[in-house]
Symmetry: C2
Subunit: 294 residues, 2 copies
């Protein structure tokens, strides 16, 4: 069965639209996201414009803050602190990458975790690990939501995560291993967490045999068609986080054509995890509004 | 071979003493640790006194701050903020547990991560996960040091962690899976990290067969003799974090008598991980002094 991220993302957008309409009907202000972009990287411009368009679709106020490539770290820090203080802004993101003269970790660490809707501050990562209320970064949140919407149980399952990045591998591993104490308002009743989790990466020996023990495999390695049909067991759930461009086509980290017939559930690329990530940003903005700034 | 935590801890204390003597010889001030204790829990009193004694042994200045059981959360928060600001204090800890009328996470979150020598703030946990410089909590730091001192390589090894607590299971899993970019000044050349890591817990199915695939097993489950000889493969390294009192004796989470003959390396209880934890606190205090407050 295909895990249709595009469809689920559309459903969630409709739910968000409804919730924000309800706020308006009650005479309340709507949530507001600010997006800081530095310089004129065309890919970044596209990402930022897509995020702003997605906000508009659900009724979230969006503000684009465009700064010149020459902005100093001090000036950018000052802008971040202003946004931290601005009561009209519920959440904001600083689009990466930043120019080389600016240290990304310095900027990210300065964001108030309550407005950190990208979930990239150490404080939010730590809170996630400790099972405290937190804003979870887009991709792990999207994967969790996708599993929940299809009522795929994780308790006692063996989850193998391929890839140990700070923004996907490590946080999704943490979320799925811990007690399911994070009930998400926007989620179905599926209990997520309580899985036995193995994290693999470039230094892992005999990746294939580890993957064959998995009930659920999440591949976020950035390596086209890394996961082949002989590497999964019959009936596994396969989540493909990869987005690779090969001969002008988008392909994932999974050899979809041959893996899909063996898998119980599988995400396509495109149309699987991808559409869930922007919607996660919208959900985080509403969550920040509800929990912290309203 | 026995991993002799008691001996290694004594070696590290001697090294610390030497480093602090060198500071004095240069006319510099010595590092200072403050320990906040609330109320009169006898176990807490013992722990605190042991920590202060350990500081004295290596020449770290230690200050005990004893507050009454009736202190309010606001008063304790104010004390924490005072310690954050106090330039003469390099690190401090708030001994847990706190009285029921005080929320532990509120207090811990208020500690400046640069002085958080217990490594329990979300900020430090997040920084550890992200591979940024951080103060790692006592037990994971102690385990890492013990592995390093015995030059036990972890690259490409399969590490199974039994237990998913915030203070042991999750952080040691993170430290051992990530790229070994944290070089510790006090460490031997062993490269730690780059392991394939599986985290098991109470919901894990067929724990025994997972443990049998491990090159290194770290048991932090709080369950006496949980790990038996049939659950390890010949030549595995076994780290026992358990401290259980059974019939008046201390026993670990490992059935030492029967597991030891099959293991290449194993920690005893007592005398294994335990002595490493207090020494980690001393190391963290010196690290805070060197990196942040000197």
């Amino acid at each position: 069965m295909i895990l249709d991220g595009k469809h689920i993302a559309a459903t969630i957008r409709a739910e968000l639209r409804e919730q924000i309409e309800a706020l308006k009907a009650q005479g309340k202000r709507v949530p507001k996201l600010a997006v800081v972009i530095v310089g004129h990287n065309p890919a970044s411009e596209t990402y930022v414009n897509n995020k702003i368009k997605a906000c508009a679709e659900v009724g979230i106020d969006a503000q684009k803050i465009a700064l010149e490539q020459t902005v100093t770290e001090q000036q950018l820090l000052a802008r971040v602190r202003q946004l931290n203080e601005d009561p009209s802004v519920d959440g904001f993101i600083v689009q990466l990458p930043l120019p080389e003269h600016i240290t990304e970790t310095t900027i990210l660490s300065a964001i108030d975790y309550r407005k950190d809707v990208d979930g990239l501050t150490p404080e939010n990562v730590g809170r996630t690990i400790q099972g405290q209320p937190s804003l979870v970064s887009a991709t792990p949140r999207g994967i969790r939501e996708l599993l929940a919407r299809y009522a795929i149980q994780t308790e006692g399952k063996h989850v193998v995560v391929v890839g140990r990045s700070n923004i996907v591998g490590k946080p999704i591993a943490m979320l799925l291993m811990q007690r399911p104490y994070l009930s998400l308002p926007s989620m179905s009743a599926a209990s997520l967490g309580d899985a036995t989790v193995t994290v693999c990466h470039s230094k892992t020996r005999d990746l294939a045999s580890i993957c064959r023990t998995a009930d659920i495999i999440i591949v976020a390695a950035g390596s086209p068609k890394l996961l082949t049909a002989d590497m999964i067991k019959e009936g596994a759930t396969v989540i493909d986080v990869g987005i690779n461009r090969v001969d002008g086509h988008l392909v994932g980290d999974v050899d979809f054509e041959h893996v899909a017939p063996k898998a119980a559930y599988i995400t396509p690329v495109p149309g699987g995890v991808g559409p869930m990530t922007i919607v996660s940003l919208l959900q985080n903005t509403l969550q920040a509004y509800n929990e912290y700034t309203r």
